[in-house]
Subunit: 194 residues, 2 copies
Amino acid sequence: MEPQSTPRIAQQLAFLVEADKLKNVLRRTTLTDRSRQENSAEHSWHLALTAMVLEEYAASPVNMAKVLRMLAVHDVVEIDAGDTFAYDAAGNATKEEREKRAADRIFGLLPTDVAPELRALWEEFEQAVTPEARFANAVDRVQPFLQNRAAGGGTWRTPNLSREQVLARMDLVRANLPRLWPTILATLDKFFPK
Amino acid sequence: MEPQSTPRIAQQLAFLVEADKLKNVLRRTTLTDRSRQENSAEHSWHLALTAMVLEEYAASPVNMAKVLRMLAVHDVVEIDAGDTFAYDAAGNATKEEREKRAADRIFGLLPTDVAPELRALWEEFEQAVTPEARFANAVDRVQPFLQNRAAGGGTWRTPNLSREQVLARMDLVRANLPRLWPTILATLDKFFPK
């Protein structure tokens, strides 16, 4: 780091350079043209845009600055912990522990007065209790839904994946973006006939 | 589109599916590990995170909700217009016209009552006059700076690129993130000795 950077600026820039690695974390979901897997950085951007466009359907009013900040950090821990596929039971059993260690290291790159704020946004997202976190988590269900639908099935084609598993995963949308639910259900009825 | 979607929802979802294409728009900048070019979608996410971390250095106070919304849409026109390299004089001569046509089509996918709002955010970014747009544009200079620095030069190695061209491009940082300027200058002094 240049001597001209204060230690504070050096820490902030080091965090931002580390964040670049999220572009190499691959999700199971593909692009709509099926050309490759989506990475967690571009996915995070797509969620921000989805939140902006679907805000009018939120079940409760939300503070959009908080939602957008939360979505920007929600997957950063995957730099160390990797993306855990929604329907991977074994992976999900160890997800919390792996992600907590990742959060310690990655948010720990920031100055100590700002690290807790960003980490708290990630924790709020994970707990999915506040209106902003519930809305953000619902948006995190709708975006892969749209990718799968446009790609002709996508991760819904995972062997042995049941209608019940997908409905359980999508239930956050029913609760937090209720006016989108008929659209979701119509598509899932087609891919997973009753 | 499913009959269960209202026409309004169908338009909003069509816009979000179209937005997926930004993940295939490649920039000249590479990832810090130089493994591949960066795309405009993951770049947009990285700008959001950069804005959050560097907000304390903004020359004027900014409305962060507006900044984050602006950054989410600032490159969407590239789906049609492509990424225009900062130091491509011929490309920049036609950029405005190409991007206006792209904005007509892409924001035009949205319902007519919300399209103007998102388009206005993009125009505000392009005009770079308001505090939010000036800050967002400065952030859009800092992030590729960090990528280039970490990658050992990156696009600064473009043949015939001069110190003056890079300094002119980075001047927005001097004006809008003044406390970062010594760091920027120290790095540029190393890559482009006086």
